[in-house]
Amino acid sequence: MTAQPGTIGVRIQAPATEIAVQREVATTIEQSSAAIEVHELSAYYGAKLAVREVTFNARQRAVTAIIGPSGSGKSTVLRALNRMLEVIPGARISGSVRFHGIDLYGAEIDPAAVRRTIGMVFQQPNPFPTMSIYDNVAAAARFNGVIKGRQAADDLVEACLVRAALWDEVKDNLGKSGASLSGGQQQRLCIARALAVNPEVILMDEPCSALDPIATLQIEQLARELAEQYSIVIVTHNMQQAARVSDETIFMSVDEARAGYVVETGSTAEIFTNPKNTITEDYITGRFG
């Protein structure tokens, strides 16, 4: 499946109104190179400042990695991108997060719609245990209520599982519970599930930290493949993973007030071979973190 300029999304047979709208819109959107623009984003949990004035751009159809020591607010920033931060009681932001120029926190913007466009894969694989593999992937379509007919659903499920490199392993067992798979398979199932919504961006919050090394490599490879069509933002505490997987890197650290901030951003190659900031260099060379 090759990506064609001016289109977003893969060729998945899903005659959904919303997705059709999305594709139509895609061709009229200005071809800016940034999928998401974050400008002076600060996040608070209650009165406590968690991250301060984060600014960066996530490029379209590339993998952007956010790295840094624990406590530097990487996951907080990631969650702010698809409005999953506000699900946590007491959490709020200031600053702006723009998706193709639209302020995601604008008054008329529906958070659920944001999350359909910017999907998320969690650190701990979380397939729905009360649903089968098939139902897990079709879950979002079920929420939409727009998949008409069994055939369309079958096609969607197969396409997503193929894209997530899981189809061959489960195609004979689609009725089994989502929780009956191994950790790596579960995570790929979650990715397939996220793909079924036809997002433009996929956020990954340390997706491999609960997985074994082989499964980790599979996920990393999948992330690189997905970047041909989707924009990926991945949070990882594993530097080597960031170096393997990403095109751009954002390095965050913690200041004395225990708030996270961006130390340096740039292409992965530059950050890892020629960092401009001494803190970055210390982290990369393992002097701390």
């Binding site: 999953m84 009681p89 944001v114 999907g119 979380n126 245990p129 009360t130 929420f143 996220a194």
Partner: protein
């Protein structure tokens, strides 16, 4: 006391002790505990046997089929049939469930999902406290407050076109299966709400966030993730409420009308298993009357037991599904 060291059971590495006996150290304690426990067991067994024997005396008078399936209860003629009371217990409990379950589900969702935690917490606590109110208070309130309120309603329905349906027809003097059902519903509502709320609250955040991250609305998350997850707990709560409704004596006695008859209409007076035992036992001087009542107690006990056992199977079925077994 000498520190007697009887041989110690070996412990496996890590300090995990598998089987421990009370048999080291002081034997007095060990035997004291044993004796008391066995005595408690013996007491229960003796009670069961004694009641079974007493109730079996009814069989000298009637065959078991005549008793269990008899539809007439006329102590004056020494005819004892259990059906009117089984019927009354079932009808009033079903009515109670019909009203209590949807309300309890709604209330538990409200408390846990829609109200902010600051309000929802105290409200849930208050509901749990209400489950502790004694039944005699509900019964008293039932006959003094509820039945007068229900009387005109029942009358109106039975005289309206709806009254042509047998369930809603017939004489509606006030105390009735319906009144009993409503009082029971009020009593079991806090129980079901509390247990359901605990089950809903136990849904892992990770699952909820997974649904939200897919763009689901709040209700969609509840419907597709939370409720299926909490299914077992909610059902357990319903069974707990049902058990309470089946065994409730005093509140039902006050408002059900105390007529040992079978009537199609839910607005007519009736009787239930526990209520008739409480209501007639003291004046039971007809031959075999007390034995019949004790036998009814056995029927009640068996019914209660069967409901609980059946429930345990269903709940474990739910739990097996949620744990990763085949869903289809």
């Amino acid at each position: 006391m000498t520190a007697s060291t009887a041989p110690v059971e070996p412990t496996s590495p890590g300090g995990l002790v598998r089987r421990r006996r009370l048999s080291m150290g002081d034997p007095v304690l060990a035997w004291g505990v044993r004796i008391l426990s066995w005595a408690a067991l013996a007491a229960v067994v003796v009670m069961l046997i004694d009641t079974a024997l007493n109730s079996a005396k009814i069989l000298q008078h009637e065959s078991i089929l005549d008793f269990l399936f008899g539809t007439v209860w006329a102590p004056a003629s020494t005819i004892y049939g259990a059906v009117p009371f089984i019927y009354g217990t079932v009808v009033s409990s079903v009515i109670a469930l019909i009203f209590a379950v949807p309300l309890a589900l709604g209330a538990s969702l409200l408390v846990n999902e829609y109200l902010p935690a600051r309000i929802g917490g105290p409200v849930a606590y208050a509901i749990e406290l209400l489950a502790a109110i004694p039944s005699v208070v509900y019964g008293f309130w039932g006959i003094l407050v509820l039945v007068p309120v229900l009387r005109p309603i029942q009358l109106a329905i039975s005289e309206s076109p709806l009254g042509t349906i047998p369930i809603f027809g017939g004489p509606a003097p006030g105390p009735s299966y319906f009144a009993a059902g409503i009082v029971l519903a009020v009593m079991i509502l806090p129980i079901i709400t509390s247990v359901a709320r605990d089950a809903i609250r136990a849904t892992p955040r990770l699952q909820r966030e997974g649904a939200l991250a897919l763009g689901a609305t709040h209700w969609e998350t509840i419907r597709h993730v939370v409720l299926p997850f909490a299914r077992g707990g909610i059902f357990a709560g319903i069974i707990l409420g049902l058990s309470r409704a089946i065994g409730e004596t005093i509140a039902v006695l006050f408002v059900i009308g105390n007529q040992p008859q079978i009537h199609a209409s839910i607005f007519s007076p009736g009787y239930s298993l526990p209520a008739v035992i409480a209501g007639e036992f003291k004046e039971a001087n007809q031959p075999f009357h007390p034995e019949a009542l004790i036998a009814l107690g056995v029927v009640l006990f068996v019914l209660s037991f069967a409901v609980n056992v059946a429930a345990r199977y269903v709940v474990s079925g739910f739990e097996a599904r949620a744990g990763g077994a085949d869903v289809r």
